[in-house]
C-alpha cells in the first residue's frame, strides 16, 4: 500500500485522508516482487512444456530448410505477408487488453475488466478470420499441406497455433463468466492471462520464421 508521505492517512476522509482502499482502485499496480508466481507454479509445467514442443517444431523447420532453401523461399513468398503483419498487431493488442483486464480484475473494476476481455475476444475472432482467409488464398494458389516441407510446416504450425487461439478464446469466455458473477479467482484469471501471452509470444516467433526468415 503506497501512500504519499505528506498525507497523513489517519485523517477523516473529508479532511483529505482518503480511504485506504479507494486510493488503489482502477490504477495499474507495479508487478509484485513478493515471489508470487503468475497463475500458480504447476501451470508453468504446461506453459513451458507447450512452448518446448513449439521450440522443437522451430528447430526441425530450420533444419529442413537447409536442405531446400529455394523451395522454402518460393513457397514463403506465396504467403500474404500483410495478413501476417496485421495478425501480429492484433495479437499484440489483445495481449495488452488482457494485461489491462487483469489489472482491472485485481482492483475489482468489473466493468472495465469485462470490456477489455470482450475486446481481446474480438481480437481473437479477427485473428482467426484473417487466418482462414490466408488459408483459402494459399490453397487456391495450389499449395496444400503436402505440397512441400515448407507448406507442411506452415499448415501444421499455424494450425496448431490456431487451435491454441481457439482454446484461449474459450478460456477468455470462462473469464467473462466469472466476471458476470463478480468472482475473483485470481489464480484462474492469471492463468488465462499467462496462457494468452504464450499464444501471442508463439505467434511472434511463428510469424518471424515463416513469413520473414524463410522468405529471405
Amino acid at each position: 500500500m503506497k501512500v504519499d508521505s505528506h498525507v497523513p492517512t489517519d485523517l477523516p476522509e473529508f479532511l483529505g485522508g482518503e480511504p485506504a482502499v479507494a486510493r488503489q482502485q482502477c490504477r495499474p499496480r507495479p508487478p509484485a516482487a513478493d515471489g508470487h508466481t503468475p497463475g500458480e507454479p504447476g501451470l508453468w509445467v504446461f506453459i513451458l512444456g507447450d512452448m518446448s514442443l513449439f521450440g522443437a517444431f522451430f528447430v526441425v523447420l530450420l533444419w529442413q530448410r537447409r536442405a531446400t532453401p529455394r523451395t522454402f523461399e518460393e513457397s514463403a513468398r506465396e504467403l500474404l505477408r500483410f495478413i501476417g503483419v496485421i495478425n501480429t498487431a492484433v495479437l499484440l493488442l489483445s495481449s495488452y487488453l488482457v494485461v489491462s483486464a487483469l489489472w482491472a480484475h485485481r482492483q475489482g473494476c468489473w466493468r472495465r475488466a469485462r470490456i477489455s476481455v470482450l475486446a481481446a475476444l474480438l481480437c481473437a475472432a479477427v485473428f482467426a478470420t484473417l487466418k482462414v482467409i490466408e488459408y483459402l488464398h494459399v490453397l487456391r494458389g495450389g499449395q496444400g499441406p503436402t505440397t512441400n516441407q515448407f507448406c507442411t510446416f506452415y499448415f501444421v504450425l499455424t494450425g496448431v497455433h490456431l487451435l491454441h487461439v481457439m482454446i484461449g478464446a474459450g478460456l477468455l469466455t470462462a473469464w467473462l463468466q466469472q466476471l458476470r458473477g463478480h468472482g475473483s479467482q485470481s489464480r484462474f484469471v492469471e492463468g488465462v492471462a499467462v496462457y494468452w501471452h504464450m499464444v501471442d509470444l508463439l505467434w511472434v516467433v511463428i510469424f518471424t520464421l515463416l513469413y520473414l526468415v524463410c522468405a529471405a
Binding site: G49, D50, T146
Partner: protein, 235 residues
C-alpha cells in the same frame, strides 16, 4: 490389503512403460521402427523372423494391458474428489478402457503379421500399414482421458494429487495432437515414424504413465500413514 493392491496398481503405470519397451526391443520395433516409406523388402524382412517378432510383440501386448489397473486406480482417486456425481470419473474409466484396447489391438495385428511371413508381400505391407496407423492415429480417447484427469485434479479442493499433475495431463493431451498427421505424410517429421508422431507420442504417454503411477503411489502411502480417508496427500 487394499493399500497393497492400490500400490500394485500404481506400479503398473511405470511397469507398462518398461514391459512394453522390452517387448518392442525384442521384436525390433525399437529402436528403429518401420516407416510408411520402408520398402517392401524391409517390411517383409522385419516379419520374417517370426518367432522373435511374435515373442516380442506378445510381451509388448501384455505390457500395454498393465495400463488397465492404473486406469482403475486413477478412477478410485477421481471418485473421491468428485463426490456424488462422478461424471469425470466415468469419462476417465470409459476412455481409459478404450485406450488400452486401442494399444492392444494394433499389436495383435502386428503379431498376426509375423504369423505367416511367407504370404504375398503386398498383404504383409497392408497388414503393417493397418497395424501402425491404428496404433498411432486414434488419439481422441487418450486426449479426453487426459483432459478428464487434469480437470478433476484442478477442481479437487482436497489436493489428493499435486496440482501440477493436472497440468501435466493437459500437456500430454496436447502432445498427442500431431499424431493425426500420420495419415497425410509418407516421410519426414510428421510421418508415422517421424519425431512429432511416434516418438513424441511414445515419450508423452511414457511421461503420463510414470507421473500418474509415481504420484498415486505417494498419495497412497501418505493416506496409509495418516490412515484417514480424506487425508491431504501432498502439498
Amino acid at each position: 490389503m487394499s493399500t497393497k493392491i492400490q500400490l500394485v496398481c500404481a506400479w503398473s503405470g511405470p511397469a507398462t512403460v518398461v514391459v512394453a519397451t522390452v517387448g518392442f526391443l525384442i521384436a525390433g520395433v525399437l529402436p528403429f521402427p518401420l516407416g510408411p516409406n520402408s520398402t517392401v523388402t524391409e517390411v517383409v524382412d522385419f516379419y520374417s523372423d517370426s518367432t522373435r517378432v511374435a515373442a516380442g510383440l506378445v510381451i509388448a501386448g501384455l505390457g500395454v494391458c498393465l495400463v488397465f489397473p492404473l486406469v482403475a486406480l486413477i478412477g478410485v482417486y477421481m471418485v473421491r474428489t468428485e463426490g456424488r456425481t462422478p461424471i469425470l470419473t466415468f469419462v476417465q474409466l470409459i476412455t481409459g478402457a478404450a485406450t488400452g484396447v486401442l494399444l492392444l489391438l494394433p499389436l495383435l495385428l502386428m503379431t498376426i503379421g509375423s504369423f505367416r511371413p511367407e504370404r504375398n508381400a503386398e498383404l504383409t505391407v497392408t497388414l503393417n500399414d493397418v497395424s501402425w496407423l491404428l496404433f498411432i492415429t486414434p488419439i481422441a480417447p487418450f486426449m479426453i482421458q487426459n483432459v478428464a484427469i487434469g480437470t478433476s485434479i484442478l477442481q479437487d479442493q482436497q489436493s489428493l494429487l499435486p496440482r501440477w499433475v493436472g497440468y501435466v495431463n493437459y500437456w500430454v493431451a496436447f502432445l498427442f495432437v500431431p499424431d493425426i498427421l500420420a495419415f497425410f505424410f509418407h516421410s519426414g517429421p510428421f510421418a508415422w515414424r517421424g519425431i512429432f508422431v511416434f516418438w513424441l507420442a511414445f515419450v508423452a504417454y511414457g511421461i503420463f504413465l510414470m507421473v500418474m503411477g509415481w504420484m498415486l503411489r505417494r498419495a497412497i502411502l501418505d493416506d496409509s500413514v495418516q490412515a484417514a480417508p480424506n487425508a491431504v496427500a501432498t502439498s
